[in-house]
Symmetry: D2
Subunit: 150 residues, 4 copies
């Protein structure tokens, strides 16, 4: 990877972590290399969506999976682009078309990591599959996220 | 509506507004009567998911629609139950099975209201359709939410 | 409606009914006017997906709802176009991006009608909500269908 | 695998292939062992959903993916059951709650195979992910199918 490319990926990573709603929730983006691109965060009392079970709110799970899907896609776009910047068209103009989340296990844990993989990368539409796991590597939820690109 | 029933609905409403993640986001539940059951909230700088357009984060939209779907369902369960309480099985044991959100317009606005209607109410599974509108009554997003019940 | 426009709508209707898989299943398209655009068909022994209950196969329900969604969209495109023909870009180049079906009641009946309404009509993506009802007007299933357009 | 178990799996396989809609379409179920459980079929002129591109109708793709999801689940149920038969509760009473299909590539090919894996297997609800590939092993579509069980 060229230094220029590496800098671009890190700039995107920081841009994603710095988005207002992500800062509010404490979501952090990470990209060690082109394969490892994740959104992670720590459990907080404010994230509870069910007082009885003390588990993550389902909407927060959807938030993380949508965020990870977009992150994966923007990194991929930057990686493919000859030149580029975080003011990349994908980052600015794209948007989520639809989002589908399957909740597989209660959202219990102290630390959560979302990962994703691109299913489809077209000129107009991209689809990313995402997963949320806790610190025990238990699969909490999966998402399929469709984005408008270009 | 009996006074007892009315009290139950109000107790559920307050229980939903008081959930940690709802308090954190400032989501308010409202139920004027059995037909008007909504989740509403005001725009805040922290809710921005796209710095260029200053629009709601898609995950927040998913959060509100999931919350509204659950709220409609719990009210419906309480309404049907001969007796009941906010420690209703639905409220405690149920959970979202899957959630599908279609983003129709950018989430612009100052105040947002989510409403919903039950599509299916079975013994095991319920499906609720939800909508998010801004203060101009523009339809921002729709959701289809499937819940495990009883 | 101009005569030319009327002819175009009827040509699209016949084109949809004539598609090989639609002929194979006996699906008929109908458009009396711009508001009434449906796909309808009669129950047949071959359509059974559960020998015990003698109900429609879920995949057939998905087929009808997808077909209705595309039909509504192509009619809408033709209606908006100044000029146009069934060799309309929408009809040829578009395609289903994703399809989500909620099964609400067993598919029992003698005659079924699918109807639909456009939720979003963008330059790149359109979303159509569809419904399937039997001859007793019971709601069997609903669909949300996302299409690539233009 | 006991002979009794093997016979049960084969009986389920034959029961699935024999369902009226499956026979009508020529869908064949196969289970060589507990890991290889597929639905496969050959392209036919009647399956075309787009006259210009001569590709599979999207509804047929949904049909195969829904069928595969149910097949995987029934086999799994039979496998886990101490005793059992194709008149298994799952096979008779269960049903698809919802189905979501993502169309990734045009449905071109001569022979198609659907495979699936269980994401969630609860007492009330199960979720299966399915894939459709052509004879070149190209991924045509993926599905997420939610079923009522027990």
């Amino acid at each position: 990877m060229s230094e220029e490319k590496k800098d671009l990926l890190l700039e995107i990573r920081d841009g994603v972590s710095a988005l207002p709603f992500h800062q509010f929730l404490g979501l952090k983006a990470d990209c060690y290399d082109t394969k490892n691109r994740s959104i992670h965060f720590d459990m907080r009392d404010e994230f509870v969506g069910n007082n009885h079970f003390k588990i993550l709110h389902g909407g927060l799970i959807a938030t993380i999976l949508d965020t990870e899907g977009g992150f994966v896609l923007v990194l991929d776009g930057a990686w493919r682009a000859e030149t580029g910047s975080p003011t990349n068209p994908v980052l600015i103009k794209g948007g989520t078309i639809d989002l589908r989340i399957d909740y597989l296990r209660p959202g219990k844990g102290k630390h959560f990591v979302a990962t994703g993989a691109i299913l489809r990368r077209g000129n107009k539409v991209a689809v990313v599959r995402t997963e949320l796991r806790n610190e025990l590597d238990e699969l909490i939820a999966v998402g399929t996220c469709t984005y408008l690109v270009g």
